[in-house]
Amino acid sequence: MTGEGPSPPGRKILIAEEGFSMDEAIEAVKRDDAGAVVAFIGTVRDDGIDSLHLETYKEAAEEELLAIREEALARFGLLEAVVIHRSGRLRIGDEIVIVACSAAHRREAFDGCRYILEELKRRAPIWKKEVGPAGERWLEVGGDPAHDPARGREVP
């Protein structure tokens, strides 16, 4: 299921210890029958912090991301989807995550990308600790209060 495609390292889902190439992730979802690619890139925002430490339950996170990806492919008619999430220590501006999706048309690509992102935040066992002048702080809530998982499950 994860071994069929091109880079990033031939995998659709990756918890990455190192930085990743946005171009490669986008190239990996392009297909001749797709007219639309939507990519979300989350970056470390300067909120007065020095760095962000990402901790993951790697095996469980990859399983969850694979499941979320499969759901999105089926529910939104995506043609391809790649998710890469960093772990480890990041600095301001570094990429945390990329969710890249392709579809025949733009609506599915937007909706599928957003679904994967919201479900990732809600379900994937990943944690963030902000490290700043005032000390360290675990961020405890990742989900968007406006996101309704039930609604997200419907094919639009």
Binding site: K121, W127, V141
Partner: protein, 92 residues
């Protein structure tokens, strides 16, 4: 029998990253958590409500499956099981 314990983020700071723990045959996830609570200060209030139920946002996994979809705290453990204790997630 030995079970493997993993803890993450704020729970890792209380419990340590991972450990093997000896528990009696037939022990449940609930039994295991009681042992951990009795030996780690601060863990009890972090994972349990005052009435003894697990806090809603705490996730316990046995072999990477949420115990919610097994038998909850009554889920029986076997030799070599991996039990993971997870605070609320915050990825993305």
């Amino acid at each position: 029998m030995l079970v493997h314990i993993r803890a993450f983020a704020s729970f890792r700071e209380i419990l340590g990253k991972e450990a093997d723990l000896e528990v009696g045959e037939g022990s449940t996830v609930g039994d295991l958590l009681e042992i951990l609570v009795s030996s780690h200060q601060g863990l009890g209030p972090a994972i349990f409500e005052e009435d003894g139920r697990l806090r809603e946002y705490v996730i316990i996994m046995k072999n990477r499956e949420r115990i919610d979809s097994l038998e909850g705290l009554a889920t029986v453990l076997e030799e070599g099981d991996e039990v993971a204790i997870l605070p609320p997630v915050a990825g993305g």
